[in-house]
């Protein structure tokens, strides 16, 4: 079985899920990579919970400023039309339903859309950060992640075993192998990665997958 898409290609596929005019928050980790794949002309505005709207790609060596970072403390570049604000307004935007899409990493997603992304149980301590606010307030939640753990365990499961970030909050999962929607009937497989079969995806997924009528291979 193939290992599927690289992290960069997962980020690229996630960027394709965004629409013109949307305000989008990119979570810590893999999601921040998405900022590198959003075309200028797309008219997507990026939101960061540490108090910025309208930033661009991650900064190169020569343009770094310690006062201009994303939620992962990576150096940012600014786009025209940016704005800065405090953390209360940043989360007012999230909780108040103004952020259209939240792209988040995950440890586990359940078939009902439960998300676990802040703590692996055996570490005994984790960081919640802004993720509980994002899943509660954002218009839709896209999870980006490797389809399974490095040792091959399911990340898409019937019930999460790690502590939850939120219940019934995920809309779409974009992984190294597939694009899957969470629907009232269950997990709906919409796309498979190039050279990945439906059987590959099912073998790497805990619950049974439903197949979309227009199931197809990802265009990258």
């Amino acid at each position: 079985m193939t290992s599927g898409l690289s992290r960069e290609l997962i980020a690229l596929r996630a960027a394709r899920e965004l629409r013109s005019g949307q305000y989008v928050n990119l979570g810590i980790g893999l999601p921040t990579l998405v900022s590198n794949f959003i075309p200028e002309e797309m008219g997507v505005v990026l939101h960061s919970e540490n108090g910025a709207l309208g930033f661009g790609r991650i900064a190169d060596e020569g343009e770094m400023d310690i006062d201009l970072v994303n939620a992962s403390s990576q150096p940012l570049t600014l786009k025209p039309g940016a704005a800065f604000f405090d953390s209360a307004l940043a989360f007012g935007m999230i909780r108040g339903g103004h952020v259209n899409v939240s792209v988040l990493g995950a440890y586990q997603v359940s078939e009902k859309g439960d998300l676990a992304n802040w703590m692996v149980t055996d570490r005994r301590v984790g960081s919640i950060g802004g993720s509980m606010d994002l899943v509660s307030g954002a218009g839709s939640v896209i999870v980006v992640m490797e389809h399974t753990t490095r040792s091959g365990e399911y990340r898409i499961v019937s019930e999460c075993t790690y502590p939850l970030t939120g219940r019934r909050v995920v809309n779409t999962i974009i992984t190294s192998l597939a694009v899957i929607d969470i629907t009232p009937k269950g997990l709906l497989l919409r796309e498979v990665a190039p050279s990945v079969t439906v059987e590959d995806v099912q073998a790497a997924t805990g619950p049974r997958l439903l197949l979309a009528e227009d199931l197809r291979e990802m265009e990258l």
């Binding site: 013109s20 005019g21 305000y23 008219g43 505005v45 939101h47 709207l53 309208g54 600014l78 025209p80 039309g81 940016a82 704005a83 800065f84 604000f85 209360a88 307004l89 989360f91 007012g92 935007m93 999230i94 909780r95 108040g96 339903g97 103004h98 952020v99 509660s136 307030g137």
Partner: protein, 229 residues
Amino acid sequence: MDKVVSSPEEAVADIVNGSTIMFGGFGVAGIPFTLIKALYEKGTKGITAITNSPGGRLEDFDLSVLFRKRQISEVIASYPVYSGKVNAFEELYLKGEVGLELVPQGTFAERIRAGGAGIPGFYTPTGVGTVAEEGKEKRTFGGKEHLLELALRADFALVKAHKADRMGNLTYRMTARNFNPLMATAADITIAEVDEIVEVGELDPESVVTPGIYVNRIIKGEKYDVGFE
């Protein structure tokens, strides 16, 4: 992304009868006169107006014009009447033609902020022991009684700002800021009337007060030389 619309008429075109509308402004400052005029000309009826004051200080331009045309049926306000003068609101209120929910001003501001920030309710010490506590749940924090107050939201917010870029980032001018930035966050559709529209990139990102995420439509306001009373 260009949120500028070409006319006040277009900006208010989908404000239907029975809409709940927030109107920015305090006294004489920061009132969206052009949008009020457009709403007057459109003739929308049955409006619930959420506004610090229902007008009267500049009665040819402020919300008074909508009361005189019987367009507003309910008011949620903190400062509905002025001493020494009966405004158009008060005339209709005393005839029973307009309803009023009277709210202490700090509670009014906080309820709007809460509406925009996804906070459905909060506790405040303001108004305990007065008419403002009527019908409200009381709860003691730190040995002191507080009232439970609920968030306010609207279908539309009509706000007045100083400058806007085409993405909807707004700045304000002096005390014309008042309730405008709060209301901009708390409506399904926020329409901003501004003194000046600038290109994207011309506003200092540090000085933007209302980030564009809160703004749906922008119009350049007409110039009103209202003067003081």
